[in-house]
Amino acid sequence: MWKVNLKVLMLTLAIVGFYTMIAHSIPQLESEVPEDLDLGGEVTPDALVAAGERVYNGAGGCVACHGLGARAPNLLTDHAGEGAIGARCGAREAGKDCKAYLWEALTTPGAYVVAGFDNIMPDMRRSLPVDQVWAVIAYLQAQGGEVTVTAADLPAAPSAAASAATGPPRSTTTDPRRLLAENGCLGCHAIDGAGPPIGPSFDGMGARLSAERIRSGILDPNADTAAGFAQFAGVMPATFGDQLSAAQLEAVVRFLAGRR
């Protein structure tokens, strides 16, 4: 009996070991996470190109399609005898220079699809910060063309850039939950038991504060800091009076005052 047990055990270990060995013997590719690149206001074009190359070959996942040239045009060597992307980007679309074309290609890729390929590319702003999108554009320009992306193209901060780049019209909703989401309140305040603890939780706020106190806290957040949040004093923007309409402000105040 023990002989059978031993044989079964050895066979199992051998099979498992064989598959493990196979998996170790092939190229070890790890899916990278978009990293925080140091792309400050003084970044040089060379630094942008270098950063763009890292994103292109790594977290951007660009080579999965463009590296082959089968699912999407090859960008680095040649496509249809037109050379690398930096050499052909300026002539792709009438009235669009290279930079404008590449920005469109990375952020609204369905607007112009190269003949022979499907519209499969996503808006890269969904997976990369906007400054990294610009770095990729600089890298692509460097493939046979002139790099015209500069530090001035980079947004001051990712969130501001995202909204500026997308250019959404100001929301007119008076749905308080949507307003809290759209205005970034949930980036600091928890709600429904979840969220970061930078500012006081919205849960039970109506039991702690009056509607008047909530309103003044939104309009002039730095006048008074909630107990326990002194280390975050000054963090909350004092711009909501400009951002929200009166109806929107009152909708948010009523909503928070009602959360007991």
Binding site: V4, K7, V8, L11, T12, I15, V16, G17, Y19, T20, A23, H24, I26, P27, Q28, L29, E30, S31, E32, V33, P34, N57, G61, V63, A64, C65, G67, L68, G69, A70, R71, N74, L76, T77, D118, I120, M121, P122, R126, S127, A156, A157, P158, S159, A160, R177, A181, E182, L186, G187, C188, I191, D192, G193, A194, P196, P197, I198, V235, P237
Partner: protein, 565 residues
């Protein structure tokens, strides 16, 4: 503003993740989830054929099937506890190691989580009634009532699976319109459940569970066969191993079709996700998968060929097996040829283009689809020879029927080959459609040949009874190879399904900001998968041993030796 962004990022991460000593949070959750899933697949798969074999026993009035069904179910009772224990462990690990993620999920799915827990109770009690009432409700209408319990057990188990699948598929393919800013509690529950990949995963898992259950039961039978002390016992477990293996392979053959559907839905949901899966950093995973499935086909055919040794009349087919083996190996090599790989600029220059000049020919889908379809046809042919071995048809049209079967095989193989070759001369979008014709040809052949065979077998003379138990021991080790490979394959596919989300807990909705956010390479994944497989098989061995103990206890109480069945 940068300070605010930094603070927000810090606060977002702080408290969002726990720490697990030694192996880290991700590995801890991964192992608990995978082992739980393996047990879950077993306890969902086995009731499917327990209830089918019980029905065969009732309708055919053959107590042998009833005993087999009960033996399946005895394994379930023990395996069920293990499933629940690992599920509990997984729950505690997720809530303590990924509290922010758990908060997100529970805000959406709280209702279905309560239903899930409730159904678990109901399913448990149904299982206990089903097993412990076996000898009580043995005859007449009571037996049909008992069979109804088995059916209910399947219904509860399937609903439990559908609920759990909705959670993990939501993570892969959240409903359109859900973004990082969406408040989780505002997402309608049904929208979150009925997401793009939910139904394809449901179908794929339903079939895979039957495959897995069959393979583990066959391994159990193999172990009992090797440990058997009497010819009678050996004969019983030889037969049980054959039935388990038959279920595993028969259902396994349709699994790739469910896989195609799942893959297509993933592409339709998000092209980028699909490309990451098939052509991105995971492209090599499919080569490993091809190695495993090649082993499965070889082991399954080897078992059938050895099994023909105990069937009178099978000698006439023996000369074909070496050619079938050759075909299987060639197809295996083609299927395992890599094609689409991540290539950086230096690698592209080194290759002299986008594709490797040699791999470019064999590594494309045309060749791979052709290879896998021919492997399926070959395996089906092995099974047909096994089935026909000891039968001599007596119907007047026997010769014509056999020729029709041969023609169907030839037609299917020709169709597969034609579209495989033609695929090289058309564009990709046309080529993808060819796989449907290839699959349809193989399925039509399987259905047509089976129908003819069933009619041919009516009133057929026997060339001699199958000598159950007279199987070489190495055939039983082939069943172990199948069980271990299926288990490893399940771990690998779990990694593929989960890994394509990359650094997202919920795809493009909730980012993984933990230290383990990067999806690991296959080597690391293989270490975890192998660990899970060894834990699972170790526990299954313990359960089998417990089953044997219980059986010995029953026989002792009844005053007869355990070996006498």
């Amino acid at each position: 503003m940068p300070e605010l962004a930094l603070l927000q990022a810090a606060a977002d991460t702080a408290g969002a993740y726990g720490h697990f000593p030694g192996i880290g949070a991700r590995a801890a959750v991964w192992i608990a989830a995978e082992v739980h899933l393996m047990f879950a697949a077993f306890v969902l798969g086995v009731p499917m054929f327990a209830v089918i074999t019980e029905l065969i026993g009732i309708v055919g009035k053959d107590e042998k099937y009833d005993k087999l069904s009960k033996e399946f179910t005895r394994l379930l009772v023990f395996a069920y506890s293990a499933t629940a224990l690992w599920g509990g462990l997984l729950l505690f690990l997720i809530t303590t190691l990924y509290p922010r993620f758990w908060g997100h999920m529970s805000q959406i799915f709280s209702l279905s989580m309560w239903v899930y827990a409730g159904l678990f109770f109901i399913e448990s009690f149904t299982l206990y009634l089903y097993y412990y009432g076996w000898d009580r409700w043995k005859v007449g209408r009571a037996k049909w009532g008992h069979w109804g319990l088995g059916l209910l057990l399947n219904v509860w188990g399937t609903i439990v699976m559908l609920i759990a699948n909705s959670w993990l598929t939501y993570m892969m393919s959240p409903p359109a319109g859900v973004t990082a800013e969406t408040i989780p509690s505002s997402i309608p529950l049904w929208d979150a459940i009925a997401n793009a990949t939910w139904m394809p995963i449901n179908i794929h898992r339903l079939i895979a569970n039957a495959v897995f259950g069959g393979a583990i039961v066959a391994a159990y039978a193999a172990f009992r066969f090797l440990a058997a002390k009497s010819d009678e016992e050996r004969a019983h477990y030889d037969w049980m191993g054959y039935v388990g293996n038959f279920i595993a392979i028969a259902t396994f053959i349709v699994l790739p079709f469910a896989g195609y559907w799942l893959g297509r839905e993933i592409y339709e949901f998000n092209q980028q996700m699909g490309i990451t899966m098939m052509g991105g950093f995971m492209s090599w995973l499919w080569i490993v998968q091809a190695v495993l499935i090649g082993v499965l086909f070889l082991a399954a055919n080897y078992y059938l060929w050895l099994g023909m040794g105990r069937i009178p009349g099978a000698e006439r087919f023996r000369r074909y097996t070496k050619w079938m083996l050759l075909l299987l190996v060639i197809c295996w090599i083609v299927w395992g040829t890599p094609h689409t790989m991540i290539a950086n600029r230096a690698e592209l220059v080194a290759m002299g283009g986008s594709h490797h000049p040699f791999l470019n020919v064999l590594g494309v889908m045309s060749a791979k689809n052709t290879a896998v379809n021919l492997m399926i046809l070959t395996t089906f042919l092995s099974f047909l020879m096994y089935r026909r071995a000891n039968k001599r048809p007596t119907v007047s049209w026997a010769k014509a029927g056999t020729m029709a079967q041969g023609a169907l095989f030839a037609l299917a193989a020709a169709t597969v080959l034609f579209y495989g070759v033609y695929g090289y001369f058309v564009e990709a979008i046309v080529r993808i459609g060819f796989s449907v014709y290839q699959v349809a040809a193989v399925l039509a052949c399987i259905i047509g040949v089976t129908v003819i065979d069933l009619l041919l077998a009516r009133g057929a003379e026997s060339r001699g009874a199958i000598r159950w138990g007279q199987m070489p021991e190495r055939s039983q080790y082939a069943l172990f190879v199948l069980a271990v490979t299926f288990t490893w394959l399940m771990g690998l596919m779990g990694f593929a399904r989960s890994g394509i989300r990359q650094h997202w807990h919920v795809w493009e909705v909730m980012r993984d900001t933990s230290v383990d956010a990067a999806t690991p390479a296959l080597g690391y994944a293989a270490n975890i998968i192998s660990t899970c497989v060894l834990i699972f098989l170790g526990l299954v061995a313990f359960i089998f041993w417990l089953g044997g103990l219980a059986e010995r206890g029953l026989h002792k109480a009844a005053g007869k030796p355990a070996a006498t069945r």
